[in-house]
């Protein structure tokens, strides 16, 4: 950094992502509050610790291999050649954005005066990874072991989310080239995959004791503390704003990037390096939040728990195309997503006896899938990349956004990278006897021993006179 303007651009970008990381931390704070609010008294502290410990578990593995996967896997491998080296192999060569630079013993994975951006970009993606794992956490409360959840959190946070981001959330991803996949604010790459993964686990894990009557009728186990749920969801909204910011490149000159001779065009871009504006996405964020709240209030019969969750589901549904939608389109799409998520949640619960304790599969999974499919129709014909637009299935160029490609993309996110791996890993953990807590512990409460000790302390203190 020897010229002042270049230095200013670099330091601004570094600071920009740094701020987004801080904001996104609120997502995790929100999830912790939300889950504790939704869990019953006798499981509170275990629920909190489970979600807290995913922070170090996913962080360490993100450092060891998660970040490397993102940069190595955009080609599949073997599905579409990279635009950097024209090879369909894993990207581990000397290319500028190669995974070679992000092995854990690279000197770029530390304080390095030659690279101000990689570390903070690593952190932003790590916070996305926490979010993916945290989405799963809520669905499985009150009956999963901490060990099993840790393994599953690592799998979704540092492996499968990283693969899906390489495939569909990278300027060189094969899903853009072959399918015309577009998912600017992660309807699919975070939410659909995490929802699908959670559903895969829930199929194996089974419902909480008492959730279904002997005749199979579902019973409502309502949130114990609606205020914690409320504050938690508001914090998730706030953190989601930071998430939106983190999905952009704040300042970029697209002229030379696209090979346009003599053209200078500075703008913010999305993750695919196509132009958008921070102002526009902020409008769309708020309009889709509003659409979700409006629809949720009506369809849930004014239920606060579902209304707040619907605000989130609304944003999630519109997120795939919120870099380009009109705000009113964002609002309407959000409303559709909420109706789909709410209806599917209760249909799946009744039909398959799936106990999704916080509606995570619905809010993230079903709304995310709906958002991807709708995006394929509304943005049909837009280029999926600025680097070139070709025909679908050609594989040497970028396909335009289209309904079929987005539908296939939704299946890949929810099913191939979400539900199937979640189901298989849960099955393995179940076979090892490590997935679910013993029945007697579930009845007594995971916090029983802690509560008993606290009660003894209370009695001892109360009976003391000095």
């Amino acid at each position: 950094m020897t010229d002042q303007l270049g230095a200013l651009t670099t330091i601004f970008t570094e600071f920009y992502y740094w701020i987004t990381v801080v904001l996104m931390f609120l997502i995790h704070v929100g999830f912790c509050m939300y889950e504790v609010g939704a869990s019953r008294y006798k499981h509170h502290q275990h629920t909190l610790m489970k979600n807290t410990m995913l922070i170090p578990l996913v962080t360490v593995t993100w450092f060891l291999f998660g970040w490397w996967i993102y940069w190595a896997f955009p080609t599949g491998p073997g599905l579409a050649p990279s635009i950097m080296n024209e090879s369909a192999a894993l990207i581990t060569d000397e290319s500028l954005f190669s995974a070679k630079w992000y092995v854990p013993n690279s000197d770029l994975m530390a304080v390095n005066l030659g690279d101000h951006i990689s570390g903070v970009f690593w952190a932003a993606f790590l916070l996305f990874a926490w979010t993916a794992a945290s989405i799963v956490s809520g669905a499985v409360i009150e009956r999963i072991t901490t060990f099993a959840f840790g393994i599953l959190a690592i799998a979704i946070g540092s492996v499968f989310w990283s693969i899906d981001a390489a495939w569909g959330w990278h300027f060189d991803g094969w899903m853009l080239k072959l399918l015309g996949y577009h998912d600017a604010y992660a309807s699919g790459v975070i939410h659909a995959i995490a929802g699908g993964f959670a559903l895969g686990i829930l199929i194996v894990l089974g419902p909480r004791i008492g959730k279904f009557s002997s005749s199979g009728e579902p019973r409502n186990i309502g949130p114990r503390n609606p205020w914690l749920v409320t504050i938690g969801l508001f914090l998730i909204y706030t953190g989601f704003w930071g998430f939106y910011a983190a999905c952009n490149i704040p300042i970029f000159n697209l002229g030379p990037e696209y090979g346009m001779e003599g053209v200078t065009y500075w703008t913010a871009t999305n993750i695919y390096v196509t132009p958008t504006t921070l102002g526009g996405i902020t409008m769309n964020f708020l309009m889709s939040l509003s659409g979700g709240l409006l629809a949720g209030y009506v369809i849930s019969g004014k239920d606060p728990f579902w209304t707040y969750s619907s605000g989130l589901a609304g944003i999630i549904c519109a997120s795939a195309g919120n870099d380009l939608y009109h705000p009113i389109q964002a609002l309407i799409i959000a409303m559709i997503g909420v109706v789909v998520a709410y209806k599917l949640h209760y249909w799946v619960e009744r039909t398959f006896k799936i106990d999704d304790a916080v509606g995570a599969v619905a809010v993230h999974g079903y709304a995310g899938v709906a958002g991807l499919i709708i995006c394929g129709f509304v943005l049909n014909g837009y280029p999926s990349s600025g680097y070139g637009v070709g025909s679908m299935w050609v594989g040497t160029d970028y396909a335009p956004i289209n309904p079929l490609g987005m539908f296939i993309g939704a299946v890949i996110m929810f099913g191939v990278l979400g539900l199937i791996p979640g189901y298989i890993i849960a099955k393995i953990l179940h076979a090892m006897g490590k997935l679910r807590i013993p029945r007697d512990v579930e009845l007594a409460g995971l916090d029983y021993n802690m509560m008993e000790t606290a009660k003894k302390d209370e009695r001892a203190v109360a009976s003391s006179n000095r």
Partner: protein, 73 residues
Amino acid sequence: MATVTNWINHLSAAEVKGAIYPGVGTETYLVIALIVIWIGWHFITSVSEDKDMAQLARKKHGGNDHKSNITDW
């Protein structure tokens, strides 16, 4: 361990070295240490959780027993 002992010399070099953390060149050993810590943590917590669960399950508490342990500090 010090990679930099004089900032003026470091920053005025023809080619400024980027990595400035202590022990440049030992990264592989640090990664091995991290993997050992990571695996060890999983092993220790898994054994501990199994023990705690088995102990609590043996007591056969009912679904409402915890209510007598709710504190009111």
